[in-house]
């Protein structure tokens, strides 16, 4: 940008003004002049001007009319209008119709003209810098997208191979002595995998648009439970669904929300309790679905309840190290995307109940 000279086009029907302009500014700028709008158009066909200065009072095409026609082709160009009379109407029109950034009154003194032209140059440079920065940002964003996608696959792929290997080894009778080791290896792999999956979910949630589908809540809840219940087989899970009519929503995000909440309810059980219970109740209506996920687990301390939706927040919990600190954050983010909300009530050692409300996008 610095090396490039600023190109200024000056349009005026008075030959003398053109000559004076050229004489005054030719050292500082690359100066082009035109005696009429039509001559200016010819120049603009082949040369992109950075600043266009036009006199208002010209025969055939006025300054505002001329400047207005340059907007579509040169949106970044800065336009300056010179008006002879202190005509406020013309100035208003110039700003609104001609997207004129600056104006100068006749008769002008050259120093003032020079200052205004410098302002125009700075405006132009700022516009271009912003555009370049935007393009850079867009590129970085695209690269990040690609990176996260390939990293999520490339990181998970070898991990899943190791997991497959461990699971195969567990089926081998000759490996009996090592069973305990395999259990430990397996649980660590699953934990690492949970991190990666959470990152993928977070990334997908933040990037992708809502995709709407018909939702069968009973099917969805059972499907999610089937996927997470292995984390603690002792937990009794009850599902109550009331759904009389169609519910349309983002099934991908609903799955993320439900699986995080149900998985938490299963994970944070109270080891002292005689029965471990999780109740999922869903009421789906024409406008909203209300889902509650309640457990009789360890509960959340009052002072922590404000923080549970923050990224990487974890409470100290001696019996459980399964959490990654990102699950509820993703739940909240996903709910924000689909226009839902969440609330939580909890009593330590008695249990926690999350309630979410999501809009039906049927109409």
């Amino acid at each position: 940008m610095d090396e490039q000279r600023i190109r200024v086009l000056y349009v005026d029907d008075e030959e003398n003004n053109l000559l004076a302009f050229r004489a005054y500014f030719r050292k500082k700028y690359e100066v082009y002049t035109a005696i009429s709008a039509s001559e200016a158009f010819r120049l603009l066909e082949s040369i992109e001007m950075h600043v266009i200065v036009s006199d208002q009072r010209m025969p055939i095409t006025s300054g505002v009319e001329f400047l207005e026609t340059t907007i579509a082709r040169y949106p970044d160009t800065i336009r300056l209008l010179i008006t002879g009379q202190s005509d406020i109407e013309t100035v208003i029109e110039a700003i609104n119709r001609g997207q004129v950034s600056k104006y100068l009154q006749k008769p002008w003194d050259w120093e003032k003209f020079s200052l205004i032209l410098e302002n125009c140059t700075d405006l132009y440079k700022a516009k271009i810098t912003l555009k370049e920065k935007n393009a850079q940002l867009q590129k970085t964003n695209d690269e990040l997208n690609r990176f996260v996608y390939s990293a999520s696959h490339d990181l998970r792929s070898p991990l899943m191979s190791v997991l497959g290997m461990v699971q195969l080894a567990k089926t081998d009778e000759a490996m009996d002595v090592a069973q305990e080791y395999f259990e430990i290896i397996e649980s660590n792999i699953l934990k690492l995998d949970m991190y990666i999956k959470n990152i993928i979910d977070y990334y997908r949630n933040s990037r992708s648009m809502e995709i709407l589908d018909n939702i069968d809540f009973n099917y969805l809840a059972n499907d999610v439970i089937a996927a997470v219940k292995d984390q603690n087989q002792d937990v009794q899970i009850e599902i109550e669904t009331e759904q009389d009519e169609e519910f349309v929503g983002d099934i991908f995000r609903l799955r993320i929300i439900l699986s995080n909440l149900i998985s938490n309810a299963i994970k944070y059980q109270n080891p002292q309790a005689s029965i471990h219970k999780v109740t999922v109740s869903i009421k789906s209506g024409p406008k909203f679905a209300t889902i509650s996920i309640a457990d009789n687990g360890i509960g959340i301390l009052n002072e922590h309840i404000e923080n549970v939706f923050k990224m990487f927040f974890r409470t100290y919990n001696a019996t459980n190290t399964q959490g990654t600190g990102i699950g509820l954050y993703i739940v909240k983010e996903a709910l924000e995307k689909i226009g839902g909300n969440i609330s939580v009530v909890s009593t330590p050692l008695e249990g926690t109940s999350f309630k979410i409300v999501i809009p039906n996008k049927k109409s």
Binding site: S152, H153, R156, S157, P158, M160, S161, V162, L163, G164, M165, Q167, L168, T171, I200, I211, F252
Partner: protein, 133 residues
């Protein structure tokens, strides 16, 4: 006894190939297993062995592979009429929404399964589709 199921495994990851093969053998689904580390190799093999009696009954096909991925492989396979004999199960370690829809749209593909490979899930899919008794 029913005829042995002939199975073709295609995956660019040798560990996965090994694990899948061992699970299939261990659960006595089949001993007739052919492994390929690339879709091109598998395609070349099918090209060289067009006979229906050697054509695989079941293909376990990884999605993400370099050069020719699982979907490319399916596209190339469509020109073989013998493909009607084959059932396909696609595998992936990262379930993508787009992939799920592409799989649903393909009549040859029985299911898309997530890695790590779950042998019980495979058996269930094969039984539902009448490929295993």
């Amino acid at each position: 006894m029913a005829k042995t199921l002939s199975i073709m495994l295609i995956d660019d990851n040798p560990t996965d190939l090994f694990v899948h093969e061992r699970f299939i053998v261990h659960r006595k689904i089949s001993h007739d297993i052919q492994k390929f580390l690339s879709a091109e190799d598998a395609l070349f093999y099918l090209h060289e062995h067009p006979g229906t009696e050697t054509w695989p009954d079941l293909i376990l096909l990884d999605i993400q592979m370099p050069v020719m991925n699982g979907f490319d492989f399916l596209m190339h396979c469509e020109k073989f009429s013998q493909m009607n004999k084959s059932s396909i199960i696609m595998l992936s370690s990262s379930l993508d929404y787009g992939d799920i829809n592409r799989v649903k749209a393909n009549p040859h593909v029985l299911a898309l399964m997530e890695k790590p490979f779950d042998i019980d899930e495979l058996i269930a899919v094969l039984e539902v589709n009448g490929i295993l008794q």
